[in-house]
């Protein structure tokens, strides 16, 4: 039971890293980006390619996965996304579905449609026991890495100049421009970091979530749920939502396998009906 | 005694600890030209929202022609004749002027659920629309989409849509707001020509318009009724001058 809880925790933390970028673009910048999972997939493939084919150490591939997807995200933002901030949600939905199609077909073409297996280094395999709880080494590694990331993010958003500029730009673009904030740059950097984090999440999660070209479609709903359930007033909401979702999903699939597939949707619909603006948003 | 069409009794609205509307008991007489004024943040918008059912009062009641409508929804109040206009134009951007008016008239006539009958078939609807068009100077733009109208015409359509509901009580929320000087006269004369039996509550900042249009004025300060009286009484009231008119620059 506790082992399962820990697995759920690790899974949830992973979901958080995957979706926190979306929490910012969707939640704060109000851009419905269904293609967020495509960046995660890109990160996953970067890591798999580098470790499996070129023998780069796994740990070293993680920052590279982050960088590659961040750069890709930044370029796409400058080239395409920035034109859609002012368009309707329907336009944004269609645009990002288009991106997903491209990503799915493109990866299928380049890498094939089979599931990719990541060769983890030996020191991250196996289990250890603490107080009678069996814990996977890799799961523990995930919890530590993702936990640190979550703390770092919260600090950056709440206490740095970049964080306050981002919040100002989101609140009112014109006013922010008026006081000399370079809103376009802030948005581009934010988008790039969000994509990078998704890429990092994809790299970390390749082992647990599985990696094949349909990844963006399969996990799109999870990311959206984290954001819509968690709300966006701080990073805490999405974090708590991710962990709850992770634990519920793992426990659900273990104890009631027949229901496991739709527990998350039932949670989603229930939350949206009761709190249309998310569980942790400020009272509307 | 004159008949009262709209009345509030001890109307109160609190947001947390904030009293947005405090114990307002207000009467609007039949056929009135009544203005509600007050400094920014006095709670005029909250008051309108309470009257029209956008907000639920924390206490007190709203009566329309002697019937308690406090629990009624927005559209129910409209159907009973309590209609408002908006400070910022709220038009149907994708429809043209005739279509907008027609749909309002259909709704008023209880046709809104008819789903197989053409929208323009109601007998007399064409004449009624033509009447509204000429009353509000919209004849020249009748087949243009609302979003393409010049601002002054949009402002007139904003009022025409409300009048098409055949209101008993019409709440005009700053009808001249943003209207360029050249079109102002037209808006004001159209307002003056509204049917006499419609009771009108005008929420306005512009003192010229208030003094021209209204024969009675209520002053709202900090969510409470501060003073009420004829135009003359209010314009001479020293306390009102102090809190609201300041140096009486407009008067």
């Amino acid at each position: 039971m506790l082992t399962l809880l820990f697995d759920g925790l690790a899974y949830g933390m992973l979901l958080f890293v995957l979706s926190c970028g979306l929490a910012v673009t969707l939640g704060l910048m109000n851009f419905i980006n269904l293609a967020h999972g495509a960046f995660a997939m890109a990160g996953g493939y970067v890591t798999v390619l580098m470790t499996n084919r070129w023998g780069v150490p796994f740990l070293l591939t993680l920052p590279i996965a982050f960088m590659v997807t961040a750069i890709a995200g930044g370029l796409l933002e400058k080239a395409l996304y920035c034109r859609l901030y002012d368009k309707t949600h329907l336009d944004q939905v269609l645009f990002s579905i288009g991106l997903v199609f491209i990503a799915v077909a493109g990866v299928d073409y380049l890498m094939g449609s089979q599931q990719q297996i990541l060769n983890l280094p030996d020191f991250l395999r196996g289990r250890f026991t603490v107080g009678g709880i069996g814990i996977g080494v890799y799961r523990a590694f995930l919890v530590v890495v993702c936990g640190l990331l979550a703390i770092a993010l919260q600090l950056i958003l709440a206490h740095t100049r970049f964080g306050s500029r981002l919040r100002a730009s989101v609140d009112d673009r014109r006013v922010a421009r008026g006081v000399g904030i370079r809103v376009n740059v802030i948005f581009a950097v934010t988008f790039a970091i969000g994509s990078g984090l998704a890429g990092l999440g994809g790299a970390l999660g390749a082992e647990i979530l599985g990696l094949d070209p349909t990844f963006p479609l399969k996990f799109m709903v999870y990311f959206l749920i984290v954001v819509s359930v968690g709300g966006t007033s701080s990073m805490t909401g999405p974090l708590v939502a991710s962990i709850l979702l992770g634990v519920a999903d793992v426990l659900g699939k273990y104890y009631v396998p027949s229901l496991g597939g739709f527990i998350i949707y039932i949670v989603l619909v229930a939350v949206l009906v009761l709190r249309p603006h998310g569980l942790f948003s400020r009272a509307a | 005694m004159t008949a009262v069409t709209l009345e509030t009794r001890n109307l109160t609205k609190t947001f947390g600890a904030l009293m947005a509307t405090t114990d307002v008991s207000f009467r609007l007489e039949k056929g009135a030209r009544h203005a509600l004024i007050g400094p920014n943040g006095a709670g005029k918008t909250t008051f309108i929202n309470l009257l029209t059912g956008v907000l639920k009062p924390s206490d007190g009641s709203v009566m329309l022609e002697g019937k308690d409508i406090t629990a009624l929804r927005r559209e129910g109040r409209v159907q009973r004749g309590l209609v408002r206009t908006f400070q910022i134009n709220q038009l149907f951007a994708g429809l043209n002027v005739v279509e907008s008016l027609a749909l309002v008239i259909n709704e008023r006539e209880g046709q809104g659920w008819r789903w197989l009958k053409p929208a323009f078939d109601a007998p007399g609807i064409d004449d009624e629309i033509a009447g509204l068009l000429s009353d509000f100077g919209l004849d020249s733009v009748f087949d243009q989409p609302c979003s393409a109208l010049p601002y002054g015409k949009q402002r007139l359509l904003e009022i025409a849509l409300a009048v098409a509901c055949r209101p008993k009580v019409l709440l005009l929320d700053e009808p001249a707001a943003g209207v360029p000087e050249a079109d102002r006269k037209e808006v004001m004369s159209r307002l003056a020509a509204l049917p006499a039996d419609v009771s009108i509550l005008l929420i306005e900042h512009d003192m010229d318009l208030v003094f021209n249009f209204a024969n009675r004025i209520s002053v709202l300060v900090a969510g409470a009724l501060f003073a009420e009286g004829s135009v003359e009484e209010i314009s001479k009231d020293q306390r009102v001058k102090q809190v609201y008119l300041g140096g009486a620059a407009h008067a």
Partner: protein, 353 residues
């Protein structure tokens, strides 16, 4: 003074009447479109299967147009009603009767039955909430169909569907001859109905809600009730589309409830343009043509190009197809004799019955 005013007013009334009369009239482009669709049955017998597919897609897109184009609800879950309609008609044919028209009716009811409760979840919240709810409901149904394999066949698909001949005479053949004619007539009837609905007071109140829900309620329109009604109607349409799919394919897999199906439907509609009923038709045609052209170049990866097209389409502006059609329509309908056109209208309205 009064008489001048009255004169002006009666001139205005005349002008208003002429604008009103123009509404609901069949344009030449529209008539031409149907003539071509009918001609295709005679002239393109080898293409009936793909034409049937187009028609079914068009009905799915039409159902989305009713909620998106007319009521402004962004949805990514139309597959919920489509799929339930497909399964309902399939199960009906296995367990009760293979009579196709009964199947359509049952599917319409099933679609409406799913849509009705769902619509209450859409009344609160903004675009994102609506996207999530529609998507979530479709996903739940997909999972239910997956789990209840004793009923639906699960991932293997529903086997053993057998559809009786239409009216007891017309066999559903493997070339789709019956299928195309049947689907086309159903599409025509549904489009005709949608035409009436969108030109009715109810239809206009939907457009008012789409454009400005705040003002709609301020002129006395019961916004929530109207949205529930149109979403339910759209559910019935989607259900019928699903039933047509079942009856012409005689096989259903879980795909009918998939996200892909919802996204395709939305895409087809948007390619053709929203808010004028023919968007789904135009879009479905374009979609199939594009798919056909692209998959002959890159058989497996045509979705790549579809994605690229979609992006280009959004970036350059979605209004283009609608504008194009409007300008074509304006060009081919020169000033005409009202009497003659009215006759055409009557003739066309009489056709389906």
């Amino acid at each position: 003074m009064m008489s001048v005013r009255e004169k002006r007013q009666s001139a205005t009334a005349e002008a208003v009447r002429s604008v009103m009369k123009r509404h609901g009239r069949w344009s030449r482009l529209e008539i031409g479109f149907w003539l071509i669709a009918v001609a295709a049955w005679f002239l393109l017998p080898g293409e009936h299967l793909i034409l049937t597919e187009i028609v079914i897609f068009a009905i799915l897109a039409l159902s989305i147009d009713l909620v998106l184009g007319y009521a402004g609800i962004v949805t990514l879950g139309q597959a919920a009603m489509y799929g339930v309609g497909a399964y309902a008609s399939g199960l009906l044919s296995i367990h009760v009767t293979g009579e196709p028209l009964t199947g359509l009716l049952v599917a319409a009811l099933a679609g409406a039955l799913i849509a009705f409760p769902t619509s209450f979840l859409l009344l609160r919240g903004a675009d994102l909430t609506r996207l999530m709810v529609t998507l979530g409901v479709a996903a739940v149904l997909h999972e239910i169909a997956n789990q209840a394999s004793w009923l639906t066949g699960g991932a293997d698909g529903l086997q053993g569907i057998a559809i009786d001949p239409l009216f007891g005479t017309f066999e559903f053949d493997i070339y789709g001859h019956t299928g195309y004619a049947y689907s086309l007539v159903v599409l025509f009837i549904l489009l005709l109905l949608a035409r009436f609905v969108t030109a009715s007071p109810f239809g206009y109140s939907l457009k008012a809600i789409r454009d400005n829900p705040l003002r709609a309620s301020a002129v006395g329109i019961p916004v929530k009730a109207r949205l529930v009604a149109v979403y339910t109607l759209s559910g019935a349409y989607a259900g019928i589309a699903g039933a047509l799919f079942t009856q012409t394919q005689q096989f259903i897999s879980l795909d009918v409830l998939s996200f892909q199906k919802s996204a395709d439907g939305l895409m087809v509609l948007v390619i053709g343009g929203t808010g004028y009923l023919y968007g789904g038709l135009v879009g479905a045609l374009a979609y199939e043509l594009i798919q056909d052209a692209l998959s002959s170049v890159t058989p497996q990866y045509w979705q790549f190009w579809l994605g690229a097209l979609l992006i280009a389409f959004v970036i350059t502006g979605r209004d283009r197809p609608r504008q194009l059609i409007n300008s074509i329509s304006a060009r081919i309908s020169r000033p005409r004799q009202p009497g003659r056109l009215d006759a055409v209208t009557v003739a066309d309205k009489g056709k389906p019955t």
